[in-house]
């Protein structure tokens, strides 16, 4: 298993330890806003376990991924706030 994983968050390169979730990587990148609500308010993770859908973001052009459930993988492109 590789020790570290290289990915990008909003275009910024990031190296995280293997086993880091995408949600954690977004926080490590200094972002707090994961998405916008129906009325445009800033939202971020609430439940941390796949239930609330507040941590949704775009991974490799696929929208609505629950970032708290997904482990970072090499070459992943993560975009928040869409």
């Amino acid at each position: 298993m590789p020790e570290r994983v290289e990915l990008s968050v909003n275009g910024r390169a990031l190296s995280v330890p293997w086993g880091t979730t995408v949600a954690a990587a977004v926080a490590l990148a200094g972002e707090t806003r994961f998405r916008r609500s129906v009325h445009g308010d800033a939202r971020g993770p609430l439940c941390g376990m796949g239930i609330c859908f507040e941590c949704r973001l775009t991974i490799n052009d696929e929208p609505h991924a629950r970032s708290c459930l997904i482990l970072c993988a090499d070459g992943m492109e993560v975009r928040t706030d869409e």
Binding site: D41, L46, C47, G48, M49, C52
Partner: protein, 433 residues
């Protein structure tokens, strides 16, 4: 879209203590057993991360016992439907999985209860257990100020855990009044393990103010939480923070048992002494049947696993131990019962349904969850009412609405029932050791 089919004598859903114990003891007695869980790791809520970085001896024991038992782990498999008797559908990264079973043990655990208050939707307001899970998966808290609030024994456990990751905890605010907690603590002598845990934790927590009878009135900040206004019902004051970890104890994940037709009582699945639900061949264990902690889940899981394997005698030997933990659970429930003032926290404009941004005033005159749905889309977003449903049950006394598959949103392809080519099951993710 790939699709695979598997068939087992016994299928267990949920790899927390309840499911691990059930699958292990059943597989040790022969027969084919599969354990399905939607996360990448064995361990469930309490032992999350233990498989990757073992720290708790008992977690390791059970995980090793499970791995040696001959049961098959199918990880990252979210069970979302049961189209026929004896059949479950799960979504996995490799595609849809059809699993046939003769008997089924559900151990889907609980989730945190979240109640609306002004500012609870700000980024940085998170569940305490959820935050701990995210921290174990790399979320940075070193040097951050985390106010821990809400209710339940989880608050202290989480604050303790967060501190070890370098977080600063200005305050633990427990809504339950001090007198009730004192009564609970004096009853703990009957549960020596819990008492030593509590004492050890308290020692380490020295220096963290823990206050009972305190709760958050609102969270404030621009695009993220920056401070929280706390109250004791009379006075209010402000505490600056980077994160507010706020949860109001636990509610069981009953979606799957309800989908299968298992009868509930008081919000939990009704089971008999062998953990059998009202549906033949379907057992339920752990937090699904009572909020009583990991020890209760372990005993219940063993009882169900043994019963499913036809070892009723061995199951019976565990009844006394289960009774002990059930009494402990009942004492917990009494001690941490939620105070009625919390119903008034959400103002008229406070969002109740976060998925659809529905405010309290848009739904509070409705008679029930169904009417609120028709009126306002409350509960119709991707979480399918998992967050607002529990909240409106507390706020307005609404019962949860009837359940329909899928029990959580899945990719469209997962729903297609057309005959697909089969995929070698070896491609499914096994737990990463």
């Amino acid at each position: 879209m790939n699709s695979a089919r598997l068939s087992f004598d016994l299928v267990v859903v949920g790899a927390g203590p309840g499911g691990l114990a059930a699958a292990s003891v059943a597989a040790e007695r022969g027969g084919s057993v599969a354990l399905l869980d939607n996360s990448p790791w064995l361990g469930g809520q309490i032992w999350r991360g233990e498989q990757a970085r073992p720290a708790v001896p008992r977690a390791r024991q059970w995980i090793e016992r499970f791995l040696a038992s001959g049961a098959r782990a199918v990880m990252q498999a979210s069970v979302f439907a049961s189209p026929d008797r004896g059949v479950l559908l799960a979504e996995t990264p490799a595609g849809r999985l059809t699993v046939r079973f003769k008997q089924l043990i559900l151990a889907t655990g609980a989730r945190e209860l979240f109640l609306p208050f002004p500012g609870w939707t700000l980024p940085g307001v998170v569940g305490p257990g959820g935050l701990e899970a995210m921290v174990k998966a790399g979320w940075p808290v070193a040097g951050r100020r985390v106010v821990v609030a809400g209710s339940g024994p989880l608050l202290v456990a989480v604050a303790d855990g967060l501190r070890r990751y370098g977080a600063r905890i200005p305050l633990i605010a427990e809504q339950a009044p001090q007198v009730r907690l004192a009564r609970f603590a004096t009853g703990l002598w009957r549960y020596p393990e819990k008492l030593s845990q509590a004492v050890a934790m308290k020692a380490r927590l020295l220096g963290i103010p823990y206050r009972a009878g305190i709760w958050p009135r609102r969270a404030e900040g621009r695009e993220r939480v920056e401070r929280v206004v706390l109250t004791d019902g009379k006075r209010s004051w402000t505490v600056e923070c980077d994160l507010l970890a706020c949860g109001w104890n636990l509610v069981p994940n009953t979606e799957l048992p309800r989908l299968l037709g298992c009868a509930l009582a008081g919000g939990f699945v009704r089971v008999d002494e062998f953990q059998r639900s009202s549906v033949a061949g379907v057992f339920c264990v752990g937090e699904l049947t009572a909020i009583a902690g990991g020890d209760a889940a372990l005993v219940q899981g063993q009882i169900a696993g043994l019963s499913a394997a036809g070892a009723a005698g061995a199951a019976r030997e565990l009844f006394a131990e289960r009774w002990r933990w059930h009494r402990f659970g009942a004492a917990l429930t009494r001690a941490f019962a939620l105070r009625p003032e919390l119903r008034a926290l959400a103002g008229r404009e406070t969002v109740v349904c976060r998925c659809e941004d529905v405010s309290r005033e848009a739904v509070e005159r409705c008679r029930d969850a169904r009417e609120a749905k028709l009126h306002s889309r409350c509960g119709m977003g991707p979480c399918q009412g998992r967050i607002c449903g529990a909240a409106t049950q507390f706020l307005f006394g609404w019962e949860s609405d009837s359940i329909r598959p899928p029990v959580f949103p899945v990719r469209v392809e997962s729903l297609l029932t057309a005959s697909e080519h089969s995929k070698p099951v070896s491609n499914l993710s096994d737990p990463t050791p």
